[in-house]
């Protein structure tokens, strides 16, 4: 165990309160934690646990209606209630931060070079011109290619991973003692995530700073953290060494979190099972450029000759990073975007079907989206939302019949039937995703395309949705196309996996085989980048 003198940030009885129209809300309820020199401390929790607000409170970055009390001593100097000038001498020099959204965290109106210069000039003096040499060094250090050219780029000209590298360069500029990383990789693709975490680790070893990693991702924590603080509803549930927390968790909540990592697997369907959906060399082209006065400058092939064969009761997982074409493939299979190639549903060639011809088939082919809030109309009751499809596909039903079906569907997805008189905003993320699933299930479909259905949910809620999808599949013999960037979820849900990159299939095979022995380099990178319990 490190000596207490190693403690560089000592947080005692820290409270964060927000004044709301409904009275004060305590987001952080008097927590204790400490950060030691050179360590990686992970602060873990689900949304609403107060993990980010703790750090915002310490750094004096709360929203205007937020208040912080207690003590947060950085090398003996209490940061809480410190005059702004003294606090500004610490922020950005001794303690620096990087954030989840590398796009919006950088000012879109200034070049990255100028933005990295700012804290250097402010804390160390000198001119922007002098700081420029240091910025070039930093960009080199964080692995930005061709720093001399990139230094004058604007944030929108960089990729997400590069922007996060720029943030890291900014964070390192003044040789900080502590780097607070608030969900630094959540918005990034998994291979980029791995690169950023590796970069952070190597820089940490080199410069000996402490890293406070705020995250919901236990896979990442296990991979990089020395110690872990588990938070829930504004309180610290448990803290200790990473190995202890993972091997011998004490608190029930920690056990539940660890258990919430997607588990289980799906046995392959027999080859005798009938083929439900058969897509042969499906391609989707988008026109690029173009406008009222300009000619179209070309086409972009989002999906390139992908063939997919889905049997009754089967789940095909489609894995890929952003831009791989996986979501477009899902839409193409449902004829929601114009595609070339041949698509057969239940033996019938549906390629080239227009909207009218597709309509009778729609009830059998349903789609569930990632964002359960964005896909539910806020002005309709849950009952209206889930029965809407019945008006189209079973117009003969009476009002009472529809209501009966709504009750059945809600029960089936594990919601109280009373929910049908309420509105989507009254439900949590997980409940809203259940509503979206109920809307699909009420039509008794045979094929459901699930587009990142669990990606916006906390891990513990994710597990419940996965269990629900599995039991629905067993009960009704459903076939799923499960689109996700999350390998752990795919491994638990799918019996067959397709790996996509840049619109083409890189590799495919039965889940067990593919995860055990990936043949393609890209699949190997993808798998090794996912720190989850794979």
């Amino acid at each position: 165990m490190p000596e207490p003198k190693d403690i560089i940030l000592d947080v005692r009885d820290l409270k964060v309160t927000f004044d709301t129209p409904d009275g004060p809300v305590e987001a952080v309820k008097g927590i204790d934690l400490d950060v030691r020199a050179g360590e990686t401390l992970a602060v873990v929790g689900e949304s609403g646990s107060g993990k980010s607000q703790t750090m915002m409170g310490i750094m004096g970055l709360l929203a205007a209606n937020g208040r912080v009390t207690g003590r947060a001593a950085y090398r003996g100097q209490d940061l809480i209630g410190l005059p702004i000038k003294a606090l500004n001498a610490v922020r950005g020099a001794k303690i620096t931060m990087i954030f989840q959204e590398p796009m919006s965290s950088l000012d879109p109106l200034y070049t990255i070079g100028r933005q990295i210069c700012e804290p250097i000039v402010h804390h160390r003096g000198g001119s922007f011109r002098q700081a420029r040499t240091r910025v070039l060094e930093l960009l080199e250090l964080v692995g930005i290619p061709d720093p001399k050219r990139r230094i004058d780029s604007y944030p929108h000209e960089l990729s997400g991973g590069q922007r996060q590298r720029v943030m890291i360069a900014m964070a390192l500029a003044n040789d900080p003692d502590i780097l607070i990383a608030d969900e630094p990789t959540t918005a990034l693709d998994v291979t980029i995530q791995a690169q950023i975490l590796d970069l952070l680790q190597s820089l940490q070893t080199r410069f000996g700073m402490a890293v406070v990693l705020i995250t919901h991702d236990l896979g990442v924590v296990r991979h990089v953290a020395d110690r872990v603080v588990v938070m829930r509803r504004g309180e610290v549930v448990e803290q200790g060494l990473t190995t202890d927390i993972f091997e011998r968790p004490q608190a029930d909540y920690t056990k539940m979190l660890l258990d919430a990592e997607p588990r289980g697997e799906k046995p392959p369907v027999p080859t005798s099972a009938p083929i439900l959906l058969d897509g042969q060399s499906v391609s989707v082209d988008y026109a690029t450029g173009g406008g009222l006065f300009y000619k179209r400058s070309g086409t972009f092939r989002a999906v390139d000759k992908v063939s997919i064969r889905l049997r009754q009761g089967q789940t095909i997982g489609v894995v890929g990073e952003s831009g791989s074409g996986k979501s477009t493939l899902g839409r193409a299979l449902l004829q929601l975007v114009p595609a070339s190639g041949v698509i057969r549903f239940d033996g019938q060639d549906i390629s080239g079907f227009d909207r009218k011809a597709m309509r009778p088939l729609r009830r059998e082919m349903q789609l569930v989206f990632q964002d359960p809030f964005g896909s539910l109309s806020p002005r309709q009751t849950v009952g209206e939302i889930i029965t809407e499809g019945l008006y189209v596909h079973e117009p003969e039903l009476s009002r009472a019949d529809r209501d009966k079906r709504a009750i059945e569907a809600l029960k089936e997805v594990g919601l109280d039937p009373q929910a049908r008189n309420r509105y989507p905003h009254e439900f949590s993320g997980g409940q809203r995703q259940r509503i979206a699933i109920a809307r699909a299930m009420i039509l008794k479909p045979r094929l459901v395309i699930l587009d990142e259905p669990t990606s916006a949910l906390d891990r513990s809620v994710q597990g419940q949705v996965i269990d629900l999808l599995r039991s629905l599949q067993d009960a009704h013999g459903l076939s799923y196309v499960f689109i996700s960037h999350d390998l752990a979820v795919i491994k638990a849900m799918a019996d067959y996996v397709i790996v996509m990159k840049d619109g083409v299939i890189v590799e495919e095979g039965e889940t067990e085989t593919l995860f055990a022995a990936p043949r393609q380099a890209y699949t190997q990178t993808l798998l090794s980048a996912a720190y989850t319990a794979v």
Binding site: M59, G60, L61, A64, I84, L87, N88, A89, V90, R91, G92, A93, T96, M97, F99, E101, S104, S105, L106, D107, P108, L109, Y110, E118, P119, H122, H123, Y154, H156, M167, M170
Partner: protein, 307 residues
């Protein structure tokens, strides 16, 4: 960049054509004519006058003739100011309107942006409420009320400033009309700035700037204000065009020999050519300022920079 400017100027031609065409026919379909006076003229005189000005020709011929003249920059003779052409009238009045308008624009922009910024930084404070209340008053009270009140207080009662006229063109003569002209625009700029500033102050990159210990002045001026200027700049085009082409009300109240009066006088008297001349003038100003604003926008925001 240069090709962008040329493309935009080229697209101004059809816009101007449409403006000229619509206003030409609108004007002609309005009842009455330039020679319908209170005491009717004899039919013979009327016919002579119409013939002299070409008003006896079929409408389409008049239209084509007018169009041809406009292309050559000739807006024709005025019907009420018989000794002058429309070109001469505008040429005489425009410098006054532009000078007054530029002052008003400067006052509105600087005052509005400053007031809006302070209000945003002290959101929901007394200062904020006071500024916003005043700006509501500024937008809602018409300038034909503000003008006389200013004259009454500062010219008639206090005798600090002249009540009207251009005099020797010194600033003393400009202050009252400038304030009356600027006030509603200042109020609009204040409201726009306040809203945009509040939004800008809540963005993630402002949080970053604060997290890196940058002093409040840098955070506000360098990062928040530049972003907040984008909607303000957008409003600059219609505002500048309106202010620089003169205000009929203000110029009449303060007896300033600008071009603002011509539009109303021309319309009332069915002075076809004078109305058309001022319409084209305003349209050209709007087009030019829109172009200026687009270029400014590109300078402020690299994401919309033109190739």
């Amino acid at each position: 960049m240069l090709s962008f400017v040329f493309r935009r100027l080229a697209s101004a031609v059809p816009t101007l054509f449409i403006v000229v065409t619509i206003s030409f026919f609108l004007m002609r379909f309005a009842p009455g004519g330039p020679f319908n006076l209170e005491r009717p003229l004899s039919p013979q005189t009327m016919a002579n006058l119409n013939k002299a000005y070409g008003l006896d020709l079929p409408l389409w011929q008049q239209y084509l003739r007018y169009l041809g003249n406009v292309v050559r920059g000739d807006f024709g003779p005025s019907y009420i100011y018989r000794d002058n052409t429309v070109d001469q009238l505008i040429g005489m009045g425009l410098p006054y309107s532009i000078e007054l308008g530029l002052w008003a624009l400067g006052v509105a922009l600087v005052g509005g942006v400053a007031a809006g910024t302070f209000a945003a930084l002290r959101q929901n404070s007394f200062l904020d409420v006071a500024i916003m209340t005043l700006s509501t008053v500024g937008v809602t009270v018409p300038n034909f009320v503000v003008g006389p009140v200013l004259t009454l207080v500062f010219a008639v009662t206090l005798s600090w400033l002249p009540a009207g006229g251009w005099g020797d063109g010194s600033l003393r003569y400009l202050i009252l009309p400038m304030i009356a002209l600027a006030l509603p625009q200042l109020a609009v700029f204040a409201r726009l700035t306040r809203g945009a500033m509040i939004e800008a102050l809540h963005t993630d990159h402002i949080r970053t700037a604060r997290a890196y210990g940058l002093p409040a002045r840098t955070v506000v001026v360098t990062h928040a204000m530049r972003a907040a200027m984008l909607p303000v700049v957008s409003y600059l085009a219609p505002c500048a065009a309106a202010l620089l082409t003169g205000s009929a009300v203000i110029e009449t109240l303060f007896t300033i020999p600008g071009v603002g009066r011509f539009f109303v006088l021309g319309a009332i008297n069915r002075d076809y050519t004078l109305v058309m001349g001022t319409v084209v003038l305003i349209a050209v100003f709007v087009i030019v300022f829109n172009l200026v604003v687009d270029i400014l926008y590109g300078l402020l925001d690299p994401r919309v920079r033109h190739e």
